[in-house]
């Protein structure tokens, strides 16, 4: 029986992580689905859908040699995997400001209350160590309509003045 797992993998960034992990999976007969991999703060991180006949123990054993050589932390979750079900984002929201605790929490809490579901979020810290700034780009869908999200973002902007800058653009997808 084919199982889907979400493989989460974190380790100090070094050359060849993706190649060695994916080769081990390929040679072990696994098939890969959607993935997100990125270097975050000097670490390399992977979230990877893996489709396999192996059970958790066998998959762990398959990854163990690579994980040990490259000093990677590996975590496996059995998931209900589904491909070919991409929801369409209809809004891209951008938030930035001087880095301080709570920006993500405040913004996403208000967005969730306005029915905005996050499909993709990337954030980064720029600037210099003594004057850091925080940047976040969110793509998602306004499930309760654009006016609710627009009002939430306007309120956020009002509450924070120029402490943070909030803007959004609609994502119009042209199918041709």
């Amino acid at each position: 029986m084919q199982n889907w797992f979400m493989l989460t993998l974190v380790g100090q960034d070094q050359l060849g992580i993706v190649a060695r992990v994916s080769t081990a999976l390929y040679e072990g007969g696994c098939n890969l689905g959607e993935a997100s991999m990125s270097r975050l703060g000097g670490n390399f991180t992977m979230m990877l859908m893996v489709n396999t006949v192996l059970d958790r123990d066998a998959l762990t054993a398959l990854l163990e040699p690579v994980a040990e050589t490259l000093q990677l932390h590996v975590h496996l979750d059995r998931i209900e995997g589904r491909l070919h079900t991409h929801p369409q984002p209809d809004l891209r929201i951008s938030v930035y400001g001087a880095d301080r605790a709570g920006i993500v929490a405040c913004v996403t809490r208000d967005l969730a209350a306005a029915g905005f579901t996050v499909l993709d979020l990337t954030s980064d810290v720029g600037g210099t160590p003594d004057k850091p700034f925080y940047l976040m780009q969110i793509e998602g869908a306004a499930t309760q309509g654009l006016p609710a999200v627009d009002a939430a973002l306007k309120r956020l902007q009002q509450n924070y003045g120029h402490e943070i800058e909030v803007s959004y653009v609609p994502i119009e997808t042209l199918v041709m």
Partner: protein, 172 residues
């Protein structure tokens, strides 16, 4: 009237270079009618290129009038089209009837000048901008075997990263 089957990637025929149309007759116009019917049958499509239905000649139909609030020329039947001038650029998300369940950001010129023949073989000149220009560029790519997935820009780092002047250390 016929609704034709739309080829979907990874069908290798979508990578075919299409040939110019040389004969403007009733057969051509009948095929154009079928192409238009196929476009109309799809959900919300704003354009179709002949190679998407396995017809490998330089023919496209663009019609963004179905979308509200877009500038447009109505239904454009473009035969042997050539873009003669480009200006500006914009990034927007595209999808394609031939690439189901995937959309991505693509850079296109904002304004184009276009020369194309109509179904009678008469040469027409167009000045096209914004979404209509995007749709035309997307469809013309099909004539050269190009799909929007040939032109994707990074999802994470949108467009242009700032030029790095200092030497930075990276791995992987």
């Amino acid at each position: 009237m016929a609704i034709l089957e739309i080829l979907t990637y990874p069908d290798p025929r979508l990578k075919t270079q299409s040939l110019p149309v040389t004969t403007f007759d009733d057969t051509l116009r009948a095929r154009l009618a079928d192409l238009a019917d196929t476009l109309n049958a799809g959900p919300g499509g704003v354009g179709i290129a002949a190679p998407q239905v396995g017809w490998f000649e330089r023919v496209v139909i663009v019609d963004v009038s179905v979308k509200p609030k877009l500038k447009h020329h109505g239904r454009l039947v473009l035969i042997n089209p050539e873009i003669t001038a480009w200006e500006g650029y914009a990034v927007a998300r595209e999808g394609c009837l031939s690439v189901p369940d995937y959309t991505g950001n693509v850079i296109r010129a904002k304004t184009i000048e276009l020369s194309a023949q109509n179904e009678l073989g008469e040469v027409q000149q167009y000045s096209i901008s914004d979404y209509e220009a995007r749709a035309v560029q997307h469809e013309l790519d099909h004539l050269d075997g190009l799909l929007f997935i040939d032109r994707l820009v990074s999802r994470r780092h949108d467009l242009f990263r700032r030029k790095v002047y200092a030497t930075t250390q990276t791995s992987a």
